[in-house]
């Protein structure tokens, strides 16, 4: 399987509609910059994960859409910052020129901060205080020093250096895993799920997130830019998972992580089949 599962479209449309409602492609430059990266064609795996988890916990996907959109905006903000010259200096993102190349570095930075704030505001407005508080707490953890920011900081220091496997894991956990876990937990929380299913879905997302990142590393080595929308070998100066395990080993461990993720879904039975499809997609993805 190389394409996203068929059911993705239904969820992507809902999230995309919400994002289009929140973002203005015809607004001021900074607003256009915000919409430019966020509304660019993408898989929206994190947002779909949030909606699936909400449904799995017997909630309404519609209720989880604001949370999913917020997570997608946080993710877009992280991509904008990640591509900056002072960071990864990437020219291509989601099949388009990187945000800072399209709007300038200053606007790109502002767009990223704008997306972050819009995400928190979206959650605050969409949910009752108790739920909003829990989800913003999750997002704060996912973005902060233990999440995206911490992972990115470590990643920057790792360029042209041999890093340990544990450091690489911390980078991946921060840059990818944290938002996967937050997406799954946020979706379940919007459905009013108890702690145990939330914990099971968090375990699913944690393993899936690392598998996703390992496959990312693989695609960086041998992917098709036309499919991935990114420059191949962009991470050549970095230590990646492939550095430790080789291509075949990385694919094997990614598959095992996806299998482990599936085991976390045991309590949910057949109702979790779409999440199993998602993990199967991650294990086999080519884009």
């Amino acid at each position: 399987m190389s394409g996203v599962p068929a059911f993705f479209a239904e969820y992507q449309d809902r999230v995309h509609a919400e994002l289009r409602h929140l973002l203005r492609e015809d607004g001021e430059e900074v607003e256009r910059a915000m919409a430019y990266t966020t509304l660019a064609p993408s898989k929206q795996v994190r947002a779909v994960l949030a909606l699936l988890c909400a449904e799995l916990c017997r909630g309404q996907a519609e209720r989880a859409v604001p949370a999913a959109a917020a997570i997608e905006m946080v993710h877009a903000a992280s991509l904008i910052l990640d591509d900056l010259p002072s960071m990864d200096d990437a020219p291509l993102r989601r099949g388009r020129r990187a945000n800072h190349l399209a709007f300038g570095e200053a606007v790109a930075i502002l767009a990223a901060f704008g997306l972050l704030n819009l995400a928190y505001g979206e959650i605050a407005r969409a949910y009752e205080p108790a739920v909003a508080s829990r989800i913003t707490g999750l997002l704060s953890d996912a973005v902060g020093p233990a999440g995206l920011i911490g992972g990115q900081a470590l990643d920057l220091r790792a360029v042209d250096q041999q890093i340990s496997f544990e450091t690489l894991e911390r980078i991946h956990r921060g840059k990818t895993g944290a938002l996967f876990v937050a997406a799954a937990a946020a979706g379940a929380i919007t459905a009013g799920a108890a702690a145990e299913p939330v914990a099971a879905l968090a375990a699913y997302a944690k393993n899936l997130g690392l598998a996703f990142q390992i496959i990312d590393d693989l695609l960086d080595v041998a992917g098709d830019p036309a499919l991935t929308g990114k420059v191949v070998r962009a991470d050549a100066r970095k230590t990646t998972f492939v550095s430790f395990s080789g291509v075949d080993g990385a694919r094997q461990l990614a598959a095992e992580l996806c299998q482990t993720a599936d085991r976390s879904l045991a309590p949910f039975g057949a109702r979790a089949d779409r999440l199993r499809e998602l993990s199967a997609f991650v294990a086999a993805r080519r884009l």
Partner: protein
Amino acid sequence: MITPPDPRIDDLRQRLRSLGYLEAGVDRFVLSGAAHTGGPLAFAARASARVGLLGGALLGPAGALGLGARLPGLVSGPRDAAVLSIYLAVFFFVAVSAAAFAAGAIAASVAPRADGRFAARARRLSSAAGILAAACLGYLTLWWRNANAGFGWSAPVWTAFALLVAVTISLLLGHAVRIATLGVLATSAGPSAAIPPVTSLSWPLSIGIGLFAFAGAAVLLIISAPSASGAAPPALTVVSTGTRVRLIALDGFDMASYLNSEQGASRFSSAMHGAALLHVQDTGDPARAWTTVATGVPPERHGVRGIQARRVAGVRGILSRGSGDMAELLGAATDVLRLTRPGLTSREERRVKTFWEAASAAGLRTAVVNWWATWPAAGSAIVVSDRAMVRLERGGALDAEIAPASLYEDLRRAWPAIRQRAEKTAAEAFPYVGDARMRAALQRSAALDVTVLEILRALPGPPRDLDVVYLPGLDIAQHALLASDAPGSPAASALTARIAAIGAYYEFLQQLVEPLLAEGGDVMTIVLTQPGRVATPTDGHLAALGSPGQPAPRATGSALDVAPTLLYALGMPLSRELPGAPLQDLFTSPFVQRHAARYVSTYGAPANGPAAREGKPLDQEMIDRLRSLGYVK
């Protein structure tokens, strides 16, 4: 072609595990049933029920094995073991569930809600639990060595094995309780709490550990079960004395009363005058006392503690009260739950061979009639058990009342004649007892004694080396006439009349037994008396008539000497496990000189061969009968 494993991948896999990956993060067995449950207490209840199921499935069968090994008579077959397993599984399910629920509820109430010390407190709780577990294991070690000190299983290797099994069970259940508790903590603290990592324990691993623990417990319990001797019994060689022995056991015999009612010279009279004295006898319970006589060992060793026992619903075996703390505890628990009903003691409780079983095992032909605790009868030797008369009265398929089973039809055919003779003899026996109620009581006892002796006479086959018969009539009559629950004392005249009636029974008994004593030839008749159910313990007597017996009025012994005396007369080697010794004064000097006592280390454990149990058990009928005779209240 098989690709060799890549060590790099294995290393990375391990490192990923240490970082919390490749773990499903959910114990499917313990927690899956609690998914979608709101609130910590509801979560604790559902998760605890799963843990309880694990505890019940594991400890129920192991507990049944243990009880079966420690309480002889309770488990009479696989069906009993299965029923007991179910009872204990339910018990352990409730107990373990309650413990797991309590652990979860306490943890949920103690742990702060969603503050930063959540994980630290959880770790402290785990540490405290670990210390407690270590202390428990220390205690278990000491207990094991103490409890098995007499059975040779306190050696370090077995103690270590026992501890290994205990640790395995503890870890399995402890792990399950821990998972449930952490789940409860997480439910009450919210998803932002830093929950300590929970190792995934999948079904196959749980089952594997459980099977190991169960198998280990089973091996330990079976191997460490108390037994009379671990050694295989040696072959028993009989050096024939040329003597056949007949034992007539009279219950309720009081020498002073007999002498007061003595009616002239007779063989019985001369036997009683020349009887050896058996010092103070057990008068608390006839089943216990007569089993002591039959086995030659005290009740602590033979295991029969009393007539009354408890029968656990659905279990064919019985639970004998008074046979230790475990039996008392189990009996009290099942009584509270209304799971028990009255039962009677049985052969299955007995842990030591009787003298007739030892003789039969040595190849001698034996028969026993109406002795206590002989049901269910099994084996090829003749046993007309204490339930046989009820079966012969009621008919129907045999429920091991008589062995061998083929004997049942012979006795069924003879039964009408036996009863007719018994009733006729009893009806004619007491013409001078004026009080109708007293006469009826005497006649009832007389009919019983006559029936027992008639059964003995009706036994087919060649002459036997050993006949044993128990006559309860005197004790029953005495109990019916003298025992009273009414307040106050009976009038002196009434008491005199009752004593006179008992004197009449002594006279009847003497006449009843006299023909047996007249048999000469190679038969030596031994008369054994016990005081019966009396408030003040008194002495018993043992008399020998016929060659090579002789009067021994100055000889003394105890109930423990009866079995060695009888076995000695038969030329059997004596087990060194018997605390008593043969009363050689009851034998002529030439006999004693010719036949020195020989010894073997043991007679071995009683054989528990299959009994012919096809008919409806007569438990209730026996209880009613014994109640009407004053044995059961």
